[in-house]
Symmetry: C2
DNA sequence: CGTGGCATGTAAACGGTTACATGATTTA
DNA sequence: TAAATCATGTAACCGTTTACATGCCACG
């Protein structure tokens, strides 16, 4: 009867965001924890089934009906969620393809690394804008929510990391671009 | 004939770190890109086999011998590596269990979130120390290496992220701890 | 010579994404 | 009522970790 992490996320979402269907849970995940956690339907629906079987959530409303079957967390579910929250968190395996390609940068033309960094800056800037918007909206939309304090904390870590990465990118570009002027070093001719 | 990302990492390591065995490749990955990429033997050995079959690397030395069979990247292998480096990098799916638990913080006793943040600070401080050591050692050990410039760039992004996270942690703790003095809000009694 | 660690490899299990199938509801 | 979209679900596939099996070598 081991629960997957997906199951815990589902449990958590039902706890903090109220009764929802599988579809609704997916949406809630994307718009709230989306920048540090993801789940697909292929995970969520089986998890709902299991949680139901364990009595940690229960389906509400019209049973025979095929339409937005909403689930509610049970007291037993809340207890299981609390236990999981108190357990030590695990460091997820690091996987950053950008850094990997940058690390091997000397194997390609210098322009390759530069372009990757520019692309990273673009993506970071975009998600920074999105987070900044949420930063001003969330307190208004969720005024009074007991979870707000924690939601803002996660958001602020995201903002801090994003800004740090953006800052790094500026310096990195400056370094690589001035390098390029002096010499065309360490490159290899394009082949394609 | 599609190559997995593992295969590219192997290729890259053979390119920048010289001839190595599967065991040696694993070690090189851990000590160089370990903080943003990981591979297990269960991935590496099959990848070596495939790369060999494709002619992108070739086994050197005593063939029948069962001992540290080292591989070398071929010119074809370098070409494939270059092409991969030039292709757009993908954003890896985000998975941060710490942030997830923090997000659900209101469902548990306030001390839970505080303890998690303290633990995060500990881990971050430790990896910061390690990176700072590498920062001073790497230029001496790898003087003259064409890749050094890029290695230092990845390292500096790691340092920047780490410091930003550490800074965030201090503020987050200050916020949560002063909160705790005023009221024991939003908690739920321990049950276990 | 035997024990422990180095090194290679494989099989099973797991977690996760993707693609597909299908029904229900909305809208034009 | 046709088309588009919402919603649920399943099966196949892929990447990855884990556990296990095994042989080689160095050292006592």
């Amino acid at each position: 009867m081991n629960l997957s992490r997906t199951a815990y996320v589902v449990l958590g979402m039902l706890a903090v965001a109220g009764d929802r269907s599988g579809y609704g849970i997916r949406g809630a995940i994307e718009t709230s924890v989306g920048y540090f956690w993801g789940e697909s339907y292929g995970q969520i629906y089986p998890a709902l089934k299991q949680l139901s079987a364990e009595g940690l959530i229960k389906a509400g409303g019209k049973p025979g009906k095929q339409k937005r079957q909403a689930y509610r967390i049970t007291p037993a579910g809340r207890a299981v969620l609390r236990d999981w929250l108190a357990a030590p968190f695990q460091n997820d395996p690091p996987r950053n393809e950008f850094l990997l390609k940058l690390f091997f940068g000397a194997e390609a033309d210098p322009s390759v690394a530069i372009e990757h960094i520019r692309e990273l800056e673009r993506r970071n800037l975009q998600s920074l804008r999105a987070m900044e918007e949420i930063e001003v909206l969330a307190p208004k939309v969720n005024a009074g929510e007991p979870g707000l304090k924690y939601w803002m904390l996660t958001l602020r870590l995201g903002l801090a990391m994003n800004r740090a990465a953006l800052e790094w990118g500026k310096e990195a570009l400056a370094e690589l671009e001035t390098d390029g002027r002096g010499n065309g070093a360490s490159g290899s001719a394009a082949k394609k």
